[in-house]
Symmetry: C2
Subunit: 344 residues, 2 copies
């Protein structure tokens, strides 16, 4: 059962009766090979079942044929956020079909985020990275640029960036949620936001404030770290207030679920006493009781677009900035007419 070593281009060359160099030309579709010879070479290659040795190719071309995704230090972030899985699936949709591979690096307690990028770049593990969860004044932009990596950002950074970006107007999603609630007669609507240091957290929060203002409402905003625990805590505070809100717009589904738990625990009926909206349209949301009204973004499409943009960059395309379709609001059972304000 001795594994015979896989054929190399030298074997192909021998079989086709040409030199190694010419084989390389033929296999890479480069000009300067007679049509007949090219055919012979390709035939020899397929006869032998030749497949390129990526390691060798990597060494001579200086490319890794791999892209990286670094997940921030808190594993809970990824564990809690189904968004990531859809994103990853989208990235893979594109990478898999173009011979790239996805390197997933989790910043661990022993190796912080910056070090992770450094090691990825230092070891020339990846040709580029996908930057998610952009932060205010995000240092990763400069870091990654300094490391000589290509990159694509999910959303547009607030600092100078040489990288392509793929954005979703999640603000529009929040806006829809607010409009939906206002239409149902809610006058006191609160927002349980993500951290203001995260660009998308801030963007959603801003969208909330401005659309609330447009509807003539006073915006009530509580910032959290996006975790279920803080979502629950924020909800407790909001509902304990004297003049408690009749609707809460959460910045993600997990917090909405936790908030729902808190409300029920306090004896409030959803949506009769309190309306709730989530963000991400998690699978779980539709199975809750009441089923969760949520803003749906197409994370997988986002991943696909980001991967494609990164590949384009790697093959020399100029910087681009893509905007994807606006998110939609999926109305289910967790939102209803404001109390004392039957739908007219």
């Amino acid at each position: 059962m001795a594994q015979t070593p896989p054929p190399t281009i030298a074997d192909v060359a021998r079989r086709a009766g040409v030199s190694k160099g010419l084989v390389s030309f033929a296999l890479n579709d480069r000009p300067g090979v007679a049509p007949d010879t090219r055919r012979r070479i390709l035939e020899a290659a397929s006869d032998l079942g030749w497949t390129p040795n990526l390691r060798a190719r990597s060494l001579s071309t200086g490319r890794s044929f791999a892209c990286g995704l670094v997940v921030g230090r808190s594993t809970d972030v990824i564990a809690a956020d189904p968004f990531f899985h859809s994103l990853i699936a989208g990235l893979e949709d594109v990478f898999a079909t173009s011979g790239q591979v996805l390197v997933l690096a989790v910043a661990t307690p022993g190796r912080q985020e910056a070090a992770t990028y450094r090691s990825l770049a230092g070891d020339r593990r990846v040709d580029g990275v996908v930057l998610t969860d952009l932060r205010a004044g995000d240092e990763r932009i400069a870091l990654v640029q300094g490391l000589g990596l290509a990159a694509v950002t999910l959303g547009r950074p607030d600092v100078d960036s040489p990288f392509s970006s793929v954005s979703v107007d999640d603000g529009a999603g929040i806006r829809r949620a607010v409009e939906h609630l206002a239409r149902l007669g809610h006058r006191r609507i609160a927002h349980v936001a993500g951290p203001s240091t995260m660009l998308h957290g801030q963007r959603r929060s801003d969208a909330f404030s401005s659309s609330a203002a447009e509807a003539g409402l006073e915006p009530i905003v509580v910032a959290t770290d996006f975790s279920a625990a803080e979502g629950a805590e924020a909800t407790r505070r909001l509902l304990a207030a004297e003049d408690r809100p009749t609707a809460i717009v959460y910045s993600n589904d997990h917090m909405a679920v936790a908030g729902l738990g808190v409300a029920q625990r306090l004896g409030l009926r959803v949506p009769d006493d309190l309306s709730i909206t989530g963000f991400d349209d998690t699978d779980l949301g539709r199975h809750l009781h009441p089923a969760l009204t949520s803003v749906a973004t197409d994370a997988r499409a986002w991943g696909r677009a980001a991967a494609q943009a990164l590949l384009d960059t790697l093959s020399g395309a100029p910087e681009s900035h893509i905007h994807l379709a606006e998110p939609t609001l999926v109305v289910r059972e967790s939102t209803g007419p404001a109390p004392d304000h039957p739908r007219g």
Copy 2:
């Protein structure tokens, strides 16, 4: 801002006044280098800020310094299962500190599972893979072996396997849940199981049946695909039955949450009318109302152990079979005394 090319061992050799070969020996802690020379070489390397070029090393050693995790075809599987994130974090804990990298491959519609393994191996992308979600008669064992990859399995396969394994006795977790419920007086306990084609699904199901039998109960089992949707459907069927169960043991938290939704929708109070247990002890579970009683396995530790076992295999250690600590039952609010059977 021209990036000066990173130093190579040739630069180090020149600076230390020795040959390339000796530098390689010194840097790899191999015998045959005079202590003084070794010191000089290491000094030269650190002066120059030399760092090994993994691509070159890969080519000459034939190793990738990367391990792979292939996620089955359904992206929902990963999206739905927080288990994966903890697992991945655990894998990374070990890989990151040993210069390995994790390649995550998602089998996409255009590239099925087997093809994914084939391409990973064909491109020599990884040195080994982690096999999760073992199935009955799992063909991946033979496939991976045939591809010449190293591997470690999560749990012990039911087919001949040359690979090391790391197991958790999840059956014991289910057993604890059943005992807990039996102690609370429940006599009709149902199990919403995973697919019987998945080894851990089957194992949990078996554990349920046997421990129910030991408690003198008739085991009621409904198989699902582990998804929230099927968990909800199974629950509906169980609760519609004439002689409906007073407690349901779910094979994962997601189905338990969905089941909770169904029960509430039917007007049943949990735990007064129906007790519910989950599996995985998801973060979300503790924020629900009622908070979910669940079996907690340490997925991260599992990942760490698996990664270590794989690295051991790669460095020539013999096959090993590790058993981790038994899972525990975290009792919260979703379980209570059986109806008409006050705790005594």
